[in-house]
Amino acid sequence: MKFKSVLSGVLLAFGFGTVAFAADVKVGFVYVGPVGDYGWTYEHNEGRLAVEEHFGDRVETIYQESVAYGADAERVINTMAMQGADLIFTTSFGYMDPTISAAKKFPNVKFEHATGFKLADNVSTYSGRFYEGRAIQGHIAGKMTKTNKIGYIGSYPIPEVVRGINSAYLHAKKVNPDVEFNIIWIYTWFDPAKEADAAKALIDQGADVILQHTDSTAPQAAAQQAGNVISFGQASDMADYKPFPRVSSIIDDWAPYYIARTQAVLDGTWESTSTWDGIGPGMVSIGEITDAVPADVKAEALAMRDAIANGTYHPFTGPIKKQDGSDWLAAGETADDGTLLGMKFYVEGITGKVPE
């Protein structure tokens, strides 16, 4: 595949025609970080490689790494469409408006935007219910912390991240009423230096668990250096830090979705949809819980995973109050997707405010 794309590029460069070989469908991927972040972008790229593997010569993929939000994103998406991409996955929240804008210009190209909410005839959205994984993290974190202080590295205060914090907090609090969350916002998805600084600051303030909603492994390295701090792989398994500090992980598995959507374009059955899948359908999975976690805690965590997967347990089940003390969910009531997708409030007990 690689040889072919090199060859076609060279032929093109020398002006031997526009298309040196013809795949049935060309699929483009726009990444917010480098494919080597071993987190969010790494998993999307694994999905891309799975598409190549699955379809062989029928599908060609192209990608662009570290694409900044705004004008750069729009240019990259447009360029891909003009290079003949039939299906383009834009894999970060900030690509929402550029994706919609490009979709207007290229009505025959199909677009798939990850984690957003704007749809069009040729734009679908897709995301994982990462908060399901956060519930399991919160349980393990609440059981294992000795200082009762949990550090949380937030990227941007958007609903996806706030939801994760609330889910982790609720489940940590349930097993450990003394637990406190300390949240640092760093306003980037991928910046190893900032992520490491945030992790160190949280550890200095007494945290012995680090949860991250950023894409690099820098917080894992900071936890490892501290020696007595546990961490969780984010978006990817981050298995290099097993069995300690990384005691488990949330893994995003995009491959089945990417293959299915590519197949739909091949078959001509692609339609605009909005997909939000969790542990059950397999878009989110829980990475190995290592032996650093006591056996009973591990068993509880796995039981929770299975209950979420088969639909018998929803991580946001009432009674839950909002941070200001007002009622959110009555006993037994579960949160609706609309509220979750727009979540901009903390649940009761979290200190600090969602940045405004």
């Binding site: 690689k2 794309s5 090199v6 076609s8 590029g9 060279v10 093109l12 460069a13 020398f14 002006g15 526009t18 483009g28 480098p34 494919v35 192209i62 990608y63 662009q64 790494e65 570290s66 900044a68 939000y69 705004g70 004008a71 750069d72 729009e74 240019r75 990259v76 447009n78 360029t79 891909m80 003009m82 290079q83 900030g94 408006d97 804008s101 909410f117 941007y156 205060p157 958007i158 609903p159 306003y187 980037t188 997708l341 727009g342 901009k344 940045p355 405004e356």
Partner: protein, 361 residues
């Protein structure tokens, strides 16, 4: 044995020729790198051609890439021209990125507060507000330098981080799109005709900011060639003592230089937010303020040089993207190529100040 001998005067010939040599060396070593990466040296030439030639002349790419080149180069050139005024006077404004952000916030605020009224006066008012935002942000380090002798490099750089925090705050609060489901980011100004910095000619890439950048190049050229103020600035930079005794007020020079660079950076921010970017978001700024510092020096602080350097820099971005897409080259290899360009420019710069003498051993 070879030794270097300092020239009495800077060589005009080498000043012009060294950038060309640097580009040639970058292409050669870049090609070598791409050949190693791809494991196939016959494709190395193709990669170089994709980056430096195809965006301009290939029929498949040029029609889209040429306008994009202007869109990318416009703000960089506009900021770099402003910075070069200060750099010539030995005043180091490193915080153009922050002034760019404030310009965007000020300008967008005017539009967002008037939404959805339509008037031809809105866009000019936004430009003024954008310029004012950048100007005020640059005035802080200027006044602190004048009155308290603080270091403008540090203050202007630190104010970038303050500006980034203000940007994050207004994206989620003051300027947030009320119809955006509570998510950060303002309304998209592309959907607001009176505020949209649209292309002057369709599909030309030429929006008002690009036009302003070209105008700034011309004005800067006359400022330094013909105008008394340009002369004063040069003297202040080259011989501060002489400038002082000639009655050139250093405080006024500081305020003028910082203010001008802030003003142009602010305008660049406004044109970007009202045009290509469309909205205020937490990650609106993408480093143009820092890239412009490099471009200012690449262009040797000469307005025409900055114009060419800005276009060349934009070419490496646009062409680099095409090469990534076509050949699957890693993004970091394009940054390495940009790094090579700067490295070779600085390395060959020695010929402008020194001549090589050889003598028998």
């Amino acid at each position: 044995m070879i030794r270097l001998e300092k020239r009495r005067n800077i060589s005009k010939f080498w000043t012009t020729v060294t950038p060309v040599i640097a580009v040639f060396l970058t292409m050669s070593f870049g090609g070598l790198m791409f050949g190693l990466l791809l494991g196939d040296f016959s494709s190395a030439f193709g990669a170089i051609k994709l980056i430096f030639w195809d965006p301009l002349f290939d029929e498949n790419f040029a029609s889209y890439a040429r306008p994009q080149l202007l869109v990318k180069a416009g703000p960089i050139i506009l900021i770099a021209i402003g910075l070069s005024i200060g750099f010539k006077a030995g005043i180091w404004n490193i915080g153009a990125e922050g002034q760019y952000i404030l310009g965007a916030i000020f300008g967008a605020s005017v539009a967002l507060s008037l939404y959805p009224q339509e008037s031809v006066l809105i866009f000019p008012a936004m430009i003024l507000a954008g310029a004012l935002g950048g100007f005020i942000w640059a005035l802080i380090p200027a006044l602190l330098k004048v009155y308290f002798k603080t270091n403008e490099i540090l203050v202007s750089l630190m104010l970038v981080y303050v500006a980034e925090n203000i940007l994050a705050s207004v994206s989620q609060g003051l300027l947030r799109n009320p119809e955006g489901m509570g998510l950060p980011g303002s309304r998209n100004l592309k959907d607001y005709p009176s505020a949209h910095n649209s292309e002057i000619l369709v599909n030309s890439g030429m929006h008002w900011g690009v036009l302003t950048a070209f105008l700034a190049v011309i004005l800067a050229y006359f400022l330094f060639l013909k105008h008394q103020k340009g002369y004063e600035i040069r003297i202040a930079g080259e011989a501060p003592k002489a400038a002082y005794f000639a009655g050139i007020n250093p405080s006024k020079t500081i305020i003028f230089c910082m203010g001008m660079s802030g003003l142009l950076a602010g305008m660049a921010g406004l044109f970007e937010v009202a045009g290509p970017a469309g909205q205020i978001t937490m990650s609106f700024n993408s480093g143009y303020g820092f890239t412009a510092i490099i471009v200012a020096f690449l262009g040797r602080l000469n307005p025409l040089g900055i114009l060419l350097a800005g276009l060349l820099m934009a070419l490496t971005y646009i062409g680099g993207e095409i090469a990534q897409l076509m050949l699957g080259l890693p993004g970091a290899s394009i940054q390495l190529l940009q790094g090579m360009l700067l490295f070779f420019l600085l390395a060959t710069d020695i010929f402008t100040n020194y001549r090589i003498k050889s003598r028998g051993s």
